[in-house]
Amino acid sequence: MVEALIGDEAFIRGCAAIGASLAVGLSGIGAGIAESGIGAAAVGATAEDREFFGLGILFTVIPETIVIFGLVVSFMLIFAM
């Protein structure tokens, strides 16, 4: 049964699609967790000093790279099929 599935192209495509979505979704959660801490600190710093606003936003988007990695992986999975 398992061997039959592994040979089935539709099954492989399905797995790839699930993998791609997991790559984006999970890395999105990861980035979200990372950004929550930075974002809270950035808001605090901005409350102390309005000048920090620009830099604060910048710090907040730094972990977004993680999602980009996930996205690249998902592209590779989808287009490799």
């Binding site: 830099l55 910048l58 730094i62 790279t65 980009i68 990695f69 690249v72 287009f79």
Partner: protein, 691 residues
Amino acid sequence: MLKPERMVKVSVVGPRDRLEIVSDTLHRLNVLHIEEPTESDAFKIGEPFEKASKISRNLLQLRSYISYLKLDPSKILPHKKYKSKEIEEQLSKKLQEYNEEIGKRLEQIKALEEETKALDEELKIIEPLKVLNVPPALLKGYKTIKCFVGFVKSDPREEISKITDLFDIILVNYEKEFVVAVFIKSEFADEVLKILQTLGFREITVPDISDYESRIKEIEAKKIEISEKRKKIEEEIEELKLKESELLLAIEEFLSSELDKAELPLKALVSKYTFVIVGYVPAKKFEEFKNKLESTGKLVVEKLDEEDDSAPTLLNNPPFVKDFEVLSTTYAVPKYKELDPTWIMSIFFTIFFGMMLGDMGYGLLVLVMSLYLKKIFKTEGWQRLLNIGVYCGISSIVFGFIYGEFFGPFLVPGHEDAGEVHWAGEFLSSLYAFNHYHPIFDRVEEFGVKALLFVVLLLGMFKILWGFLLGFYNVYAEHGLKEAIFEKGSWFIGVLGLAFIILGFSYNLGIFSSPPPHGFGYILPAPPENAPPLPIPGLVEGWELGANDFYKIAVVLLVVWFVMFLKAEIPKMGVFGVFMVVELMTWFGQIISYARLLAIGLSSVYIAFVINYVVPKIVEVMIPVEMLVTVVAVIIMVLAHAVNLLLGILDPGLQSLRLHYVEFFTKFFEGGGRKYAPFGRVKKFIEEGGE
């Protein structure tokens, strides 16, 4: 453009009694960046001129009025500029006038505020007494009976009855507490008071009034009267503000300048008869500076040192690049001898933004909005920021034309009918008749995504390598060739090795040897069949097949890098320096990080597509009336596009900024320079040079 403006260190020496004239001239010239002096035996830091304390007193007063009137000089564009002389003449008269017109009124307002406060306090006392409903005359003035009036937290009857039965009590609920009046024989007063205190008793002093109702009415009437009075005074102040705001700010500017001048001795070294001021002047202005200053007489201006590492930084950029200084100096101000990265940023920031947003419609809106806001916000900072908006708008329009997007794409894989995908699809499609009704580069379909991914990764490699080259130059300029090779050169070679690995990987995938959508066409001979994309000896079967020339070059480069790396790190970090090899993976991550140029754009494209494609369909099902369908659909689409545009401005802007700050600047840009801040000020409300 690449490097900050050249500076010359100068000293100004002269007799001490000329200091006042010198300070006047220096302030007017506004070119000398004065260094903080250090004292020595013979030379001490000077003391401010006598007039300083008077000026600062006046200034303080004036600024308090300005802050009360909420005048922001950066938001006011002067209609006319005042002459310094004009201001000097009427200074004392005007200051007195302001003290009377504004200062007195502010005091009146304060007095009224206090009066209101007192009335409010009285109300707070009377209201609970009114609830108690005992006339004030009955609450005090007894001879043998003591009367406690106040708040308690719970009923005291039981406790009091333990002492005596001879008491009377009135207890009423009042805002989560009780108001109480206890009448008791004087001899028990002390004991009862103790009991009450355990219950949280707070006494109310009964006022000398005859009737609560009428007093409350009286107070309310008085409060209204006060607020009317206050309103009138505020109106008068507002009137004054309209009339006098520019003059007020001009006087503030004048006094600030005077204070600067009066405090110059704090930045100078003085002996009994002489003074010395040391500072920096831009090299090209030196001659003019020297001539003008020396023409005031009895002075010597001298060049101290041509090349000086600690000179302040004055960025020197043409207008287009200058607008981006806001963004680059937010990261750091370059050191005097460092390269100024603003010009690179100005070009790539614009391109990156366009690449990500890439939509003619959105770009047009960004452009129009920036131009419109430029007319409203006239201050320099806003103008520069909005200029960046203009450039980014234009760049988005250009890329939008290449991508074939106007508020969304008109071709999406799986939906070939342009009229169905996009409300103006037919028209857009006909616009591209010259290219078989296809966008010049379609980033939505498969080949587009692949190609753009490859292009942005190339761009990433290129910029990271460039960053290391610039870093090589900076280290070379500061520490010499050997340091530069070990610190930046080795990483350059390492990253180049990574780049070749990515190229080798792409080659084995067939990107250079197959037709779209799988590759760029037949650029190179095809890789052997069944060549594994990532041929790792020992791990991947048949790796020999995949070992193409790119990989071979990469291996050579990585070996060279590794040797150089060990030579640089082992002496510094010891054997554990080997673990620093992991850092190469950081650069790999940073190359991949450029994929955001593709990703962020795609997300906004798909949101736009969904808006154009799905909204009309949903509205059609939800609303049966045909006339309404169009109206509702248009409203929803406009709102949705507005949200998407907002995201489309914020995200590409931030990500583009981040690609520079994190992935590019870290390779070469240290910063930590001091901004050139000449003694003097740019006059806004006073005519320049009108002394």
